[in-house]
Symmetry: C2
Subunit: 256 residues, 2 copies
Amino acid sequence: MTVGLDPDYSRLPKHLLDLDDPIFEFNKTIIDQTKDHCIAYKPNTAFYESRGVKGWQSLEKTVNYIPDSHFKIADAKRGDIGNTSKQYAKAFFETLNFDAITVAPYMGIDSVSPFLEFENKWVILLGLTSNKGSKDFQFTKNENTGKYLFEQVIESAIKWGTNEQLMFVIGATHPENIADIRKIIPDHFLLVPGVGAQGGDLNAIIKHGANQEGGLLINSSRGIIFKSEAEDFGIAAGKAAESLSEKMKGYFHTMQ
Amino acid sequence: MTVGLDPDYSRLPKHLLDLDDPIFEFNKTIIDQTKDHCIAYKPNTAFYESRGVKGWQSLEKTVNYIPDSHFKIADAKRGDIGNTSKQYAKAFFETLNFDAITVAPYMGIDSVSPFLEFENKWVILLGLTSNKGSKDFQFTKNENTGKYLFEQVIESAIKWGTNEQLMFVIGATHPENIADIRKIIPDHFLLVPGVGAQGGDLNAIIKHGANQEGGLLINSSRGIIFKSEAEDFGIAAGKAAESLSEKMKGYFHTMQ
């Protein structure tokens, strides 16, 4: 399980706001309390950038605080022409010590490839996202192949990198599509957001999306970190993470 | 004309590297020397993020240094689920004082709408990009309508906002498509990258893409800012900007 570190400033517990770096203090407590129940953390850059330079300081401190035992995902959804994507790859893989970054596919191969040139780093490409707007373009059917755009994105991208450097974002709100996606990519890891506040069906996702190794990185952000917005937020987050982790184990178990 | 402020650190003139903030010093000189020949500046965030916190300081100083007479575009290509896109909008429209931001369309309406809620601010949505990878997905033909994905993106987005808050990125490397795009959006502004290092045909773009008000924001980045990589880089950039501006005026003139 992945914990999404999306510290919306307007929802931080009030007692943190007088500290020098409320966002980092919040994340530190969340990490301390949840690390035994997850294998990865996923800060979304938007919640740091909204605070400007101070926010980037919080992001840097946060990624450095995540234990090395845990996988570090920058949920940044970047993507640009080749020489520019290379700069983004440097930003997240070298300047900040992330293991993986989410990337947007609209601009095609040369917007994604520069991220794949870094050893032991991962690209997590948007495939089928969890939000309402995923219906606008991702389900467009290709006139020549009859396939959805998200299928075309996945089929193209698996030629650009191996399943040891490339994963896909597949939102938990589309359990009806995940079995078909598994036919295209039986072995790739899937990063699955949308099980908490967005209402995705965890059981259906595991049933149709898990492979023999598990193969799913299920993310919860708001459902864990804002379980309580009072002084007990850390304890509450720890319990929420433990509970989701136990629930997942149960669902995986019933598959055996 | 727009000048792209993409200060690739490895190409900065050597004499700047000992200063406290080489990127800002570089941009300051470029702005001083080019401001009489352009109406807008477009920093691409990748070139700042690659320097981490220091880079975001340079970006903040740069946007504050751009004269108020000029339009300020954050070339950030952001886009995420609704509550997250709202944070990006805050980052670039409130925390940093940009007038416009480039946005990626893959995630659909709720990834774009939060940016359109800010008054007197602009969204510049990726339509048809200038890079090689634009061929991978943007030219996918819709089974139901026979239209290209970039046409579908444009036709959808013009329902989400007015032509006084929404523009489109249309790369200069596709002059053969720009006339068809103008049939869909005769009145919208187009931001056109790719005339310099990427080899787009300026004359053809103006011929097929200009409307009665002009309607084109033509961008050059590397072709201006790295015209010289020696101590005379500012003077060289000013001359390159003036020359491109004159060339554009000539092409516009021959259309009358």
